[in-house]
């Protein structure tokens, strides 16, 4: 049994806490809980206890009874005289007798609700009090006005244990198991205060009503009282680190497929970029507090205490996300923590009868944006214009133009538009069933989820099955066991060429390259048609299992000490099968009338490749945990050992030249040269010892020290271990006497942290002088042979990146929650970054240099979150949440060549990583810039990429030397990763309706729209409609330079001309829901029923054309657009 945490005071809401209470509170956030069966709960009162105390404070005695009887009390401390001295002496008595003896003299009533024994002042006593003060005329006039009603959660479920207090008095009660309460108040215009942990505290004027049903709104900004931190939990109020949290319930009903897409704009300190909307690959890059390193930048993800991926978990099974941001928060993760940590906690079982709930939606997806290529007529027109400009004959005759225009001969004058191949309203559907319940000794939570997502064409889709089972058992009074099993199966299907190549082929799908998508006789005429609608596929099946077993034992002789051991085994198997069947397009013979459309010349025969990837991770943790109170001092200590091993095995085989169209390896060609095999394996190991000590004096002064002594296999023996400590302090000013009575200030805390953490960078074994072996490398004597090449120069001293992180944060709550805010300033200096010291050797050196731990970079900024909630009536609540993150890094030391370093315009050092450099475009050369003979006028800088003409891009000669060269480079854009991300989430609740919106935006980021993303006819590809806005003497201020049949060297230089500010604002999610009133739900034999309509990426505002503003400038890939999803869902509780 866990040592109960001390009583803390938090504004009006003063409650006693246990972990289970918190879990229960959290559970209310999105789950359906059946009524606890009263008779079951009454059993608690039959627990046998022995107790003997003399003249101790009631509060302490209750705490002791909690331990002895394994019960939890819930009460309003303002109503219960905790400081009253009491005595009780009983041996082997039933709890109800003990409580009766103890509490009845104090006129305290007790009843069981769920896990709790709820204490309240008995009405009788209140009436006596009122009687005694009957000479008070105000009280006298409205004597004993009685109010009753039902308290429900937003999803319509009854809520037991809610404190209902008459404002300004100690008069109060708590709601019963069925959510019902009744309270006698002093006057008919009294104000009731409803409060419950994890929920907004609300004041409701009685206004003469005798029945007040009230719906509790979740406190969406945080988990309020307890937060999950690294290797444990802490009270929110005593946390001295920078952490932000998000409830799983907030994302469970939004049509999100990959959980990494659920954090942006919702959690402060998180910068995200979702570069593609492709099913199964549509996750976001997550940068906690931006980018702090030239090396790896992704945070560590921890699921239920074990480092694991979280993106494909079922959103319904997520209890909470916690983002650990500063050194104090991440120090326990040592070398894995520098880029921040995201802790994901899955739901656990709760005591009570089995409750069953269903959550599901069906949604329809359409791309947020599709590249708008020109149609065939526009293509021909544009190409003719390009020929005009070059003084060459028109490639398309007037007759051809007319045929393209009127579409009268689509076989011979085709207009293949890839958009005709895209499915409209592709389906996205998710279904989930949860079952939860338990007894005092065993609690269970089970969940089964299914998701199916269609792609933009039939070849692409993603299917996922998730299964979760969490089991908590109190195996003895002092021993707890936890078993968690979380598995999934994913089936991903795409066309047989990689997605990037599909989009490349789309770029070539124009009349010059392809026939119509389909000829009039039904045969395919374009490569994209055969690729998306022919045979062949790329299927990837993933089976992953997270399993863990923990045992926690209280140490009998030292009160407050626990030992815990955990083993987690996470195997993952991925099978990849690519059946590539290049289909023959039909061809047309236009010399015959009518045209003859036949099968084209043969293509290569099909080939099949199959890969098997096995990954497993084995994690051990062993810890000692200590918590103890000494008067006003509260001390906790944690020591933990962790070892983690990863193994991978990859095997792949392939055959080509299939005669039989059967997609099995054994059915392929039996010629040896048509077969390939490959295989490799690798191991990874990490081991660490971590500690955390906290000291808290009277809830006011908070100190914490944590750290990790960490080891990794990456480095040379003797260099493998590092120590990463952090310290933090907090001061809760609102607990100080001088602020305690300030009525509008509920909470004010200042905290600061300082510490050092590490980051693994580069690749393992860079310390070894080794060679790579590979094969086949060459053939000699007609036989394939292996090859060996030298790797980069080795560096025996290679070690981790070190990050010194500092953070100052303020948290405050004003006007009873009307404004709650948390703001942090952070500063990080990352040193030891791996950089290649290019300048120290000549290019003739002939080998890559070992990277050295030489780079230094700082990253600073602020992140803040804000919530404001206001109840206008008990039916209407409005709240607003906001988060804002600004992170700007600066390269302090990188090995930069003198060429760029010595030119202030080109210097990388002192600028943010990823700052984009190039020539500054002045606009176009205009007719006036040329002499009559076509030469440039005197004084115009010479550009080195061939003869320029009017309509070519003119670049600025920054150094004024009369010629454009590299020395004229300057900064032309911000990094491609946004430096600012913000979210604004208003919501309105009216009766059963609720509208939740999330606006998400990014700023300070530029996108380089070069190559096929902007230019007409790049590499023989098509052009965009936008390319029609090209320079002509009549259109001197066009968007694009003069039109040419291929982009010219001069106009394709890296310049500011092609830079686009991709700040964006989008309505990321919008959900409108309606909860059926509970009486109606009950008639339908349900505890609750909620129906909702939800949208994802509903609206996007940005300057970027043809691509989503989150698209990346990476190779051909990643251009599968983001999806706009509209869904309808149902949430039922039984």
């Amino acid at each position: 049994m866990k040592k109960p945490l001390p009583i803390i005071k938090h504004g009006l809401r003063v409650v006693k806490l246990t972990i289970l209470q918190i879990l229960m509170a959290v559970a209310f956030s999105g789950l359906t809980i059946a009524d606890p069966v009263p008779t079951y709960g009454q059993d608690i009162l039959d627990n046998i206890v022995s107790i003997s105390v003399q003249d101790k404070k009631l509060g302490d005695v209750l705490t002791e009874i909690e331990t002895l009887a394994n019960v939890k009390f819930s009460f309003n401390p303002k109503a219960i005289p905790l400081d009253e001295l009491v005595s009780v002496h009983q041996r082997n008595a039933k709890l109800k007798d003990v409580l009766g003896n103890l509490l009845s003299p104090l006129t305290i009533r007790f009843e069981v609700a769920g896990d709790y024994v709820i204490l309240s002042k008995s009405i009788k006593k209140q009436q006596e009090n009122l009687d005694r003060s009957s000479n008070d005329p105000k009280v006298d006039s409205e004597f004993a006005f009685s109010v009753s009603g039902t308290v429900t959660s937003e999803s319509g479920e009854p809520m037991p244990g809610v404190n209902v207090l008459e404002k300004g008095t100690t008069n109060g009660t708590t709601s019963e198991a069925n959510g019902k309460y009744s309270l006698v108040v002093a006057e008919s215009n009294a104000v009731l205060v409803f409060s419950f942990i994890g929920y907004m505290t609300n004041e409701v004027p009685v206004n003469g009503r005798t029945v007040i049903d009230f719906t509790m709104a979740e406190d969406v900004t945080n988990l309020e009282e307890l937060v999950v931190v690294g290797y444990g939990t802490q009270k929110k109020t005593s946390v001295t680190a920078a952490v932000s949290t998000l409830k799983g319930a907030e994302v469970a009903s939004t049509p999100t497929t990959d959980l990494s897409n659920s954090l942006g704009g919702r959690v402060s300190g998180v910068i995200v970029k979702q570069t593609t909307g492709e099913p199964g690959a549509d996750g976001s890059s997550i940068f906690i507090r931006g980018i702090s390193s030239t090396g790896a930048t992704q945070p560590l993800i921890v699921v239920d205490g074990i480092p694991r991926d979280f993106t494909q978990l079922d959103p319904n099974t997520i209890e909470s996300f916690t983002v650990l941001k500063d050194a104090a928060a991440v120090a326990p993760y040592g070398v894995a923590g520098a880029n921040g940590v995201i802790l994901v906690t899955t739901k656990k079982g709760k005591t009570g009868a089995a409750s069953l709930s269903y959550n599901g939606y069906i949604g329809f997806q359409n791309p947020t944006v599709l590249p708008k290529y020109v149609n065939a007529f526009q293509y021909a027109t544009l190409q003719n214009a390009a020929a005009d400009g070059a003084g060459l004959p028109h490639p398309y005759s007037d007759e051809a133009l007319q045929k393209y225009k009127d579409g009268s001969d689509p076989d011979a004058y085709p207009d293949p538009d890839y958009r005709d191949l895209i499915m409209k309203n592709a389906m996205l559907t998710t279904h989930n069933i949860e079952l939860s319940g338990g007894t005092e000794t065993v609690k269970y939570y089970g969940s089964l989820g299914y998701q199916f997502q269609e792609g933009m064409w039939p070849k692409t889709n993603h299917k996922r099955y998730n299964l979760a089972l969490n089991l908590d058992a109190q195996v003895t009074k002092t021993t707890k066991l936890f078993l968690g099993v979380n598995g999934r199966v994913q089936n991903l299907s795409t066309p047989y060429t990689p997605p990037g190549r599909v989009w490349e082929i789309i770029g070539y799908t124009h009349t010059e390259h392809e026939g119509p998508l389909w000829y009039s006789n039904g045969m395919p005429g374009a490569a994209i048609t055969t690729l998306l609608y022919g045979d062949g596929y790329n299927k990837r099946n993933t089976t992953a299992l997270y399993s863990q077993l923990s045992l926690e034992q209280e140490i009998p002789f030292i009160s407050g000490l626990k030992a815990k051991g955990t083993i987690a085994y996470d195997p993952t198997v991925i099978m990849n099968k690519i059946w590539s069947v290049p289909a023959d397009k039909a061809t047309i013979d236009k010399t015959q009338t009518p045209y003859v459309i036949t099968q084209g010349p043969p293509s290569v025969k099909p080939s099949l490749s199959q890969a098997y990837n096995q990954r497993y991770q084995l994690t051990y943790q062993a810890s000692l945990d200590y918590a103890k109170e000494f008067g006003n001092s509260h001390v906790t200590a944690l020591a933990l050992f962790e070892a983690k091993g990863n193994n991978t095995i990859d095997i792949a085989v392939s055959r080509r030249n299939y005669n039989l169209l059967i997609d099995e390896i054994n059915m392929g060609s039996s010629t040896l040269s048509d077969m390939t095999t490959s295989g490799t394996s690798s191991d990874a190991r990490q081991v660490g010892f971590l500690y955390r000590v906290t000291y808290d004096y009277a809830g006011k002064y908070l100190f914490e020290a944590s750290g990790r002594y960490d080891g990794s296999y990456y480095f040379a023996p003797g260099k493998r271990f590092g120590f990463f400590p952090a310290f933090s302090v907090g001061w809760r000013l609102s607990e100080e006497g001088f602020l305690k009575d300030v009525s509008w200030l509920e909470n004010l805390k200042i905290r600061a942290s300082h510490g050092e953490v590490g980051a693994l960078a580069g690749a393992p074994f860079q310390y070894l002088s080794t060679y790579n072996a590979y094969g086949p490398a060459y053939t000699l004597g007609g036989q394939a042979v292996q090859g060996i090449n030298e790797r980069n120069e080795y560096n025996p001293d290679i070690t981790w990146e070190r990050a010194v992180k500092r953070d100052i944060g303020f948290e405050f709550t004003l006007w009873e929650g009307l404004l709650e805010m948390e703001v942090d300033y952070f500063h990080e200096k990352r040193s030891n970054m791996l950089v290649a010291p290019d300048v120290v050797v000549p290019a003739e050196y002939g080998i890559g240099l070992s990277q050295v731990n030489g780079g230094v970079m700082k990253n600073e900024g602020i992140d803040l979150s804000l919530t404001s909630t206001r109840s206008f009536t008990d039916d209407l609540q409005v709240s607003l949440g906001a988060s804002f993150t600004y992170a700007q890094n600066t390269l302090l030391k990188v090995f930069e060549t003198p060429t760029t370093f010595n030119n202030p315009n080109r210097r990388r050092t002192g600028r943010p990583l990823g700052t984009q450099f190039g020539w500054h475009a002045l606009g176009f050369f205009q007719l006036d810039d040329f002499n009559a003979d076509g030469t440039l006028k005197e004084g115009i800088a010479v550009q080195p990429w061939g003869k320029v003409q009017p309509g070519d891009i003119r670049y600025e000669d920054i150094n004024g030397d009369g010629k454009i060269d590299d020395e004229d480079h300057t900064v032309i854009g911000d990094p491609a990763t946004p430096q600012i991300i913000y979210g604004i989430s208003p919501n309105i609740r009216f009766k059963g309706f609720s509208l939740d919106l999330l606006f998400q935006g990014a700023a300070k980021t530029d996108f380089y729209s070069n190559s096929f993303r902007a230019w007409a006819f790049q590499n023989g590809m098509s052009a965009y409609e936008d390319n029609f806005n090209y320079w002509t003497p009549e259109n001197p201020n066009a968007r694009h330079p003069r039109i040419t049949s291929a982009p010219t060297t001069n106009n394709t230089q890296t310049s500011s001309w092609w830079m686009t500010d991709v700040s964006y604002l989008r309505l990321k999610t919008a959900t409108l829901s309606y909860s059926i009133p509970s009486p109606l739900a009950e008639k339908l034999r349900m505890q609750s029923a909620r129906i909702y309509v939800s949208g994802q990426n509903v609206l996007t505002f940005t300057d970027l054309k043809n691509y989503d503003p989150e698209a990346t400038v990476a190779a051909y890939g990643n251009l599968y657009p983001q999806q706009k999803v509209i869904s309808v869902g149902l949430n039922l509780g039984f």
């Binding site: 390009a386 020929a387 070059a390 060459l392 490639p395 051809a400 011979a412 195996v475 003895t476 021993t479 010059e512 030992a563 051991g565 290049p582 023959d584 047309i588 013979d589 010349p601 043969p602 293509s603 050992f641 070892a643 040269s673 048509d674 390939t676 394996s681 690798s682 990874a684 081991v687 023996p717 393992p764 070894l768 080794t770 060679y771 790579n772 072996a773 086949p776 053939t779 000699l780 004597g781 007609g782 394939a784 042979v785 090859g787 090449n789 790797r791 120290v840 050797v841 000549p842 003739e844 002939g846 060429t899 080195p944 061939g946 790049q1018 590499n1019 049949s1045 291929a1046 982009p1047 010219t1048």
Partner: protein, 548 residues
């Protein structure tokens, strides 16, 4: 407490103890499974051989590019608009920052130096050492040859640079053009006798390869670019060395010019040194898809990366052996593809020829996607021709997949014969041995011998024509134009195309300037490539070539 709980507690205790006892250092002892340590690699000849294999694999080959070096010359151009050969190089607008770079061969030179250093220091058997060291030195000389022909004098690095032990000594200045040349010659001379006439495994360096490399460099050095005074002894050196190769009697001409380049005939009797490919793997070749005809039978089959020009087409003789410029040749400009020599039909896809069983139509017919691309806007031929030479129809259906195992022949016997003929003609005059060498090449393609009694100048013209045709699209032409100092002429004017248009119901063959085929060459600087700006930035001892 009941028994199972006790048992569990016992387990926990055991687990905790085990963990505490685990030696963390042992736990972190992980060996990389795809890597070889220095000690293991140089422990035996079998392993060391694998290192040398990688150096062989580093020899560049052109079968996975759509922009063959011949596109830099007047022999062909790229049908794809915007390729470097047609823009930066054709217009001579390249700068030290964006010029094609060969400087990366210093990585290969390092590999050779490392192999030589490690093997020299080893205690392997002398016979093995002597052979493999010679191979490595041959490869190093070959890489230096690539640098020398493009840049002139370059830093001569023959040791393994090590910044930790050598300090500033790792920065080396450029050797002179002469020193660089002499190094290559000396190396080839030194190793020739250590190499076998016939390699135990096809593909390895041989005595013939070393002598051919030497003879080629001597020919280059004797040519006008490097021999402005026309020192005849240089020509004599080149003739002597090429004669040495002929006298090895190890090589002969493969009977069929067309299929000599197919994978079926890899390592044939004519091959002196080649670069290998392995189809179906990452090191396979895909020249058919990259360099072959764009549209075949109405479907795109390749990228059209190499379009032979009218200029090379005009060099092919008539079947009677006479050049088309000879009034007696019987050449009809309106039936230009009739009665040409065999190599024309084996090398060029022209209007009316057959490819993959389809008739290739290059005529200007509306909707014909293989008509000469007058607007230079798509991958259709810009010249009226596509490449056929060396393209194996078996693989021409594959797009750009690397399925071909055909070797790229770097040196073959026909070149040696022509090298000899050229050098001997310059050094001595058109003696019988010159006639014999050229006629041997002609005879293979069923051409009659050169007329007897040619003057030295006439013989020079005949040899250059023979060389251009015989070695077309084998990445020889650029070097020849440079060394003959003809680039300022041939690369300073447009290349030509054939336009077949209907006029009054008759198909008319018109030679036009190829669309996108303009060329500019600045003789004051373009005979040498600029040293890459990045190399200059990193080594202050390097000096730039003139004019950049």
């Amino acid at each position: 407490m009941n028994k199972p709980i006790k048992y569990l507690k016992g387990k926990v205790a055991t687990l905790l103890t085990v963990m505490a006892l685990v030696s963390c250092n042992d736990y972190l002892e992980v060996e990389p499974k795809d890597q070889i340590t220095d000690a293991a690699l140089w422990a035996n000849t079998g392993n060391a051989d694998l290192f040398l294999n990688n150096i062989y694999a580093s020899v560049p080959g052109p079968f996975n590019t759509d922009d063959l070096e011949d596109n830099y010359t007047d022999d062909s151009m790229n049908g794809i608009p915007g390729r470097v050969s047609g823009t930066l190089y054709a217009n001579s607008t390249y700068t030290p920052s964006n010029a094609p770079s060969y400087w990366g061969h210093y990585a290969n030179i390092r590999k050779c130096n490392l192999f030589i250093e490690k093997v020299t220091a080893s205690s392997f058997a002398d016979t093995w050492k002597s052979l493999r060291l010679a191979e490595a030195r041959f490869l190093r000389a070959y890489f230096y040859q690539l640098l020398w022909t493009h840049y002139g004098g370059v830093p001569l690095i023959t040791d393994v640079l090590n910044r930790n032990t050598q300090g500033d000594d790792i920065f080396r200045a450029r050797a002179t053009d002469e020193e660089t040349y002499q190094f290559i010659i000396d190396e080839c001379t030194a190793i020739a006798d250590a190499l076998p006439v016939k390699a135990a495994e096809a593909g390895r360096a041989t005595k013939g390869a070393a002598l051919t490399l030497k003879g080629w460099c001597e020919l280059f050095a004797a040519s006008p670019l490097k021999n402005p005074t026309n020192d005849l002894s240089k020509w004599a050196n080149a003739a002597a060395t090429n004669k040495q190769v002929i006298d090895l009697n190890a090589y002969s001409l493969f009977p069929d010019y067309e299929t000599m380049f197919y994978e079926e005939n890899n390592n044939n009797v004519e091959v002196i040194f080649d670069r290998h490919y392995l189809g179906g793997t990452a090191i396979g070749g895909s020249r058919e898809g990259l360099q072959g005809p764009w549209i075949v039978g109405g479907t795109q089959k390749a990228w059209g990366g190499v379009d032979p020009t009218q200029d090379i087409v005009d060099e092919y003789a008539m079947a009677n052996g006479l050049p088309i410029t000879d009034p007696a040749s019987g050449y009809d400009p309106q039936q230009p593809y009739l009665n040409r020599e065999k190599r024309f039909y084996q090398s060029i896809v022209y209007d009316g020829s057959s490819w993959l069983g389809f008739e290739m139509v290059m005529k200007r017919i509306p909707g014909n996607r293989n008509a000469t691309d007058l607007a230079n806007f798509n991958e259709a031929t810009n010249t009226g021709y596509y490449l056929r030479k060396g393209l194996n129809p078996k693989y021409a259906i594959n797009g750009n997949q690397r399925f071909n195992s055909a070797s790229f022949i770097i040196f073959r016997y026909a070149e040696v014969l022509l090298n000899y003929a050229e050098a001997q003609n310059e050094a001595v005059g058109p003696d019988q041995s010159v006639h014999d060498a050229v006629n041997a090449v002609r005879e293979r393609s069923d051409l009659p011998p050169l007329p007897i009694g040619l003057s030295q100048d006439e013989m020079r013209t005949a040899i250059r024509r023979e060389r251009r045709v015989e070695l077309a699209f084998e990445q020889k032409r650029w070097y020849d134009l440079i060394r003959w100092k003809l680039a300022e002429v041939n690369l300073n004017r447009p290349v030509h195309a054939m336009l077949i248009e209907e006029e009054n119901g008759v198909w008319v063959y018109k030679v036009i300037n190829a669309p996108g085929g303009n060329k500019t060459f600045y003789p004051e600087k373009n005979y040498f490539f600029p040293i890459p700006q990045s190399a200059l930035n990193q080594n202050s001892l390097l000096t730039q070539n003139p004019g950049y």
